[in-house]
């Protein structure tokens, strides 16, 4: 349930005139489509609830809702609803407008011509409605909100249907648990039955330092803002290039861009100035330098003296580099 449900409905009622205007405009552009005002209104309201009233503490005012409604891709939503209704005219329009785009995207992703062919057939079939629930077709079009463009939505649907994500995931292991069970794989791999008591003590000391370094990194990381965390993830673990990161922040209205950019005079005068790879590098370096000082502060808070901090960092980096995969190091089971 959306927070402030009743209040939200009241606010949406106050936007009824605007919704009617948008609907009339869409109907003028496509008078033959089979779309009722109620359906259209309901789709707009769903989108408002999905994107604008997501945070529990926040309730937008009427003006904000009106701005949001005004920014939506009305005509594309109108087409999508008509297609979901099975309107033949809308389907032919959709086909004429989007088929070449769909083919282009699919061919880029598919491994062969026959795979592309099958994927396009399956997509059309899913868009029309491959499932029938309680006597009604469930069209994929009904999941389009109209907030983003229909092209972008189609691209994501096609991409999702063709890309196989070979990765391992776990839901159950928190970082606390990781730190607790730290180095099970590491300890087993490095100790043998022939090791002396002092070897074992050395190993325990190493393990203590590894735990402290991870604990300190966790504390340091938690102090970063979400946009700083995200850029570190994209660069270090997802291995996106600076150019690729620059692409997602190049739009003047990009939220990530607004968080990072300093409001220099030049940028205030030219809000749409391009974000270059060197800018992303500077953001990364700034974030990296922030986490680096936080990390050292946290090691101090964990009771390590300056000399110990250096030893701890040296030992931890060595131990972590020896292991090819994180899963192997921690020795926990990964859900496939």
């Amino acid at each position: 349930m959306v927070p402030h449900e009743n209040k939200t409905d009241e606010l949406l009622c106050q936007c009824e005139t605007l919704i009617k205007q948008i609907f009339e405009q869409c109907r003028q552009n496509a008078p033959n489509y089979e779309v009722s005002f109620q359906q259209f209104k309901s789709a707009l309201e769903t989108s408002v609830k999905k994107y604008l009233i997501k945070e529990e503490e926040y309730l937008p005012d009427v003006e904000e809702i009106k701005t949001f409604l005004g920014e939506m891709h009305h005509q594309e939503l109108f087409l999508a609803i008509a297609c979901a209704n099975g309107d033949e005219m809308a389907w032919w329009d959709f086909d004429r407008e989007y088929r070449s785009y769909i083919e282009r995207i699919t061919r880029k992703l598919a491994s062969s011509e026959s795979t592309a062919e099958e994927a396009i057939s399956a997509l059309y079939y899913e868009l029309y409605g491959s499932r029938i629930a309680e006597g009604e077709r469930i069209s994929k079009f009904s999941s389009y909100s109209g907030r983003g463009s229909l092209r972008s939505w189609l691209k994501t649907i096609i991409w999702h249907s063709l890309v196989d994500l070979h990765r391992s995931w776990t839901v159950s292991v928190s970082i606390d648990e990781m730190v607790e069970t730290l180095g099970e794989g590491y300890t087993h791999a490095s100790l043998t039955e022939q090791d002396s008591e002092s070897d074992i003590l050395d190993e325990l000391t190493r393990k203590k330092y590894l735990k402290k370094s991870l604990q300190a990194m966790e504390n340091a990381f938690s102090q970063l803002a979400d946009h700083e965390k995200l850029i570190l993830f994209y660069y270090y673990t997802e291995k996106l290039t600076l150019k690729q990161i620059a692409r997602i922040v190049e739009l003047p209205e990009s939220p990530l861009r607004s968080w990072f950019k300093r409001k220099t005079e030049k940028r205030q005068k030219e809000p749409s100035s391009r974000i270059h790879e060197s800018t992303i590098m500077r953001w990364l370096e700034k974030t990296y330098s922030k986490i680096s000082s936080l990390f050292r502060e946290e090691l101090k808070k964990l009771g390590l003296k300056q000399r110990e901090i250096e030893v701890c960092i040296e030992l931890a980096s060595q131990a972590f580099s020896d292991f090819s995969s994180t899963e192997k190091f921690f020795g926990f089971n990964i859900k496939k």
Partner: protein, 132 residues
């Protein structure tokens, strides 16, 4: 320099450990992913989604892969498999005609037909393999 490199290794290791974790709540749907990467949301609308991306390696990975795909698309406009450009379009056109001539029942018929075609293709492939 060496110190910085060591710290960087610890950070990378820590981040890769976090990259195994996925959120227990719902993942971002296709509409949200598309809207998010298109840059259609303002800071306030983006904030809860960004929070999810930070916590959920699965969705983060999806967005990263989509960003990679977008950048491939932008860099190269050329289309592969240009040998039979009209083949897919014809097939799709037939599909639409079939759906709208026979309505909902046609969907089921089409599904059967696609299934049959697949079977035929598979058995033809098997026969070819046997002949070889």
């Amino acid at each position: 320099m060496k110190k910085e490199e060591n710290e960087r290794k610890i950070l990378e290791f820590y981040l890769s450990a976090l990259s195994l974790q996925i959120a227990e709540d719902e993942h971002l749907d296709e509409d949200t992913l598309a809207t998010l990467l298109e840059g259609s949301l303002n800071q306030r609308q983006f904030r809860p989604l960004m929070k999810h991306l930070v916590e959920c390696a699965f969705c983060r990975h999806l967005t990263a892969e989509l960003i990679r795909f977008d950048s491939t698309l932008a860099e190269s406009e050329e289309i592969s498999y240009q040998s039979e450009p009209a083949k897919i379009s014809d097939k799709v056109r037939n599909l639409l005609s079939e759906i709208f001539q026979h309505n909902v029942a046609a969907v089921e018929a089409f599904e059967d037909k696609v299934g049959e075609e697949k079977k035929e293709r598979n058995s033809e492939g098997e026969e070819e393999n046997q002949n070889h």
